[in-house]
């Protein structure tokens, strides 16, 4: 199952996702051990493989550090669902082959702990706990292709 970790907050920034005191390394496992540390010290322990983070507006604002995405990927987070995303973070996610879902009203439609399943291509979230089906605008095909190839560089190499 993919469990939702809901943060009813806007502007969750890259300093909270991975504090700059850990940017002296790009070792993914080490970054992952500190992911979300300054926002939720228990996140690493409670996040299971494939779990989803749900938040409000402007997720990922701040620095251009791709380390934020690597830390989330390293912690096996499956995707981020947010009302809106900051620009550089959003682009970094696609470039790294990491799914992002823009969903108006996200923190109200999904509760903390809900078991959810996402069909990224169809643009459908199946909230198994609440028994609801939530639709969203899927990413354009070229972005899905980049993500499915494992990121921009792998996508380019493949071509």
């Amino acid at each position: 199952m993919s469990k939702a970790h809901v943060y009813k907050r806007d502007h969750i920034n890259t300093d909270e996702i991975i504090p700059a005191r850990y940017l002296n390394t790009d070792d993914v496992a080490e970054l992952a051990s500190h992911v979300m540390e300054d926002l939720d010290g228990e996140f690493v322990d409670k996040c299971g493989a494939g779990d989803i983070i749900v938040a409000g507006n402007d997720f990922g604002c701040g620095s251009s550090r791709e380390h934020a995405v690597w830390a989330l990927q390293g912690a096996k987070v499956g995707a981020i669902i947010a009302q809106t995303f900051a620009r550089i973070f959003y682009r970094n996610c696609i470039n790294c082959g990491f799914y992002v879902v823009e969903l108006p009203g996200a923190p109200e439609k999904i509760n903390d702990g809900d078991d959810i399943e996402i069909d990224y291509k169809a643009g459908v979230i199946n909230n198994k706990t609440q028994g609801t089906v939530i639709e969203f605008n899927p990413l354009p095909d070229f972005a899905v292709e980049i993500i499915e190839d494992g990121g921009l560089l792998k996508h380019i190499s493949k071509k």
Binding site: N24, D38, G62, S64, A86, R87, N95, L152
Partner: protein, 420 residues
Amino acid sequence: MGMTITEKIFAKATGQDSVKAGDLVNANIDIVMCHDVTTPPAISMLKANGIDKVFDTEKIVVTPDHFQPAKDIKSAELHKRLDTWAREKGIKHYYPVGKAGVCHALLPEQGHIRPGEVIVGGDSHTCTYGAFAAFSTGIGSTDLAAAIATGQLWFKVPESMKFVLNGSLNKGVYSKDVILEAIRIVKTDGALYRAMEFVGPALREMSMEARMTITNMAIEAGGKNGIIAFDEVTKEYLDAHLKDKKDYVVFESDADANYVETIEIDCSALEPMIAKPSLPSNGVKISVCAGEAMDQSYIGSCTNGRIEDMRIAAEIMKGKKVAIRTIVVPATPDIWKACIDEGLAEIFYDAGCVFSAPTCGACLGGFMGILAAGEKCVSSTNRNFVGRMGSPKSGVFLASAATAAASAIEGKLADPRNYL
């Protein structure tokens, strides 16, 4: 319909007569900025994908800055990877430790920024260079790797948002106060995906240093880029700083160009601003927050670590003592030397400040001035997110270099106008 400066730059960078906001374009990059945190991973990615080339050894500018000189073993490893790569590839404009400085102060100072060009960098404050009527934006390591290898990146041409800076700044009020007011108005995502174009009479009176403070913080409003039209002030700066390639193209926004929103700010009515923890949009006037006790003052960074900021801080501190620990960090070696030559370093020493070598240092919680739990720092930097300068239980209060200097003397948030 006419075009904005940003659209015209993209038209040039894609070899087209015109582009409009929303167009997806593959643009040629004129300058790629590389530093010690985001470039080593980009280099590793290129190697891992079997890509060995760089697109142009003269169009990539490299400087360690975030953790320079290396603060610990891990950052030394990052620096080693950056250094080895820059030398191996024969990067012409590589600034190793000794020549290295805070990237967004160093590149314009060393003549790498020209109007009309497209500049990307592996750092969110790359938007700084828009002060020179260039398009510049921050990117992550993967885009950086692609830019280094190919000299091209895809972009969605941004919509433009106009900020009209009316009136004239009063004594003791600076461009930092203007941008903190602009971010207070539009909030941290009010310019998301947009070009922030700054115009108006108050802007025309500002030096290039002061203008760079404004475009530097475009990202704090979510902006893709900040941009300011070329004028005599720009020309004078470029005449003094451009070295190898001195030609450039000047674009102006057409009278009928499209702006999705216009924000007017009366600069004559502004007073010194403080952005309280933990968002840059938490701006309040100094008159409503003066007196709040601080533990540290920090004067430096790509926002306000330039010579003009050093002069302003020194003017306020001259003959006085600081009441709290105060760290002064000139952003580049040339600024550091000017501080010595002009007697500013001596003023800082006499006042009881630490006068540091150029580094991004404590601005991002790296080193050289980290905060303990419960501590508060008034800082001339650009971000005050939770834990930005150290403990997640510390607080950062963003201000101009003048306000940070006045607050250092009083040990609490203070109005710099009382010292000028």
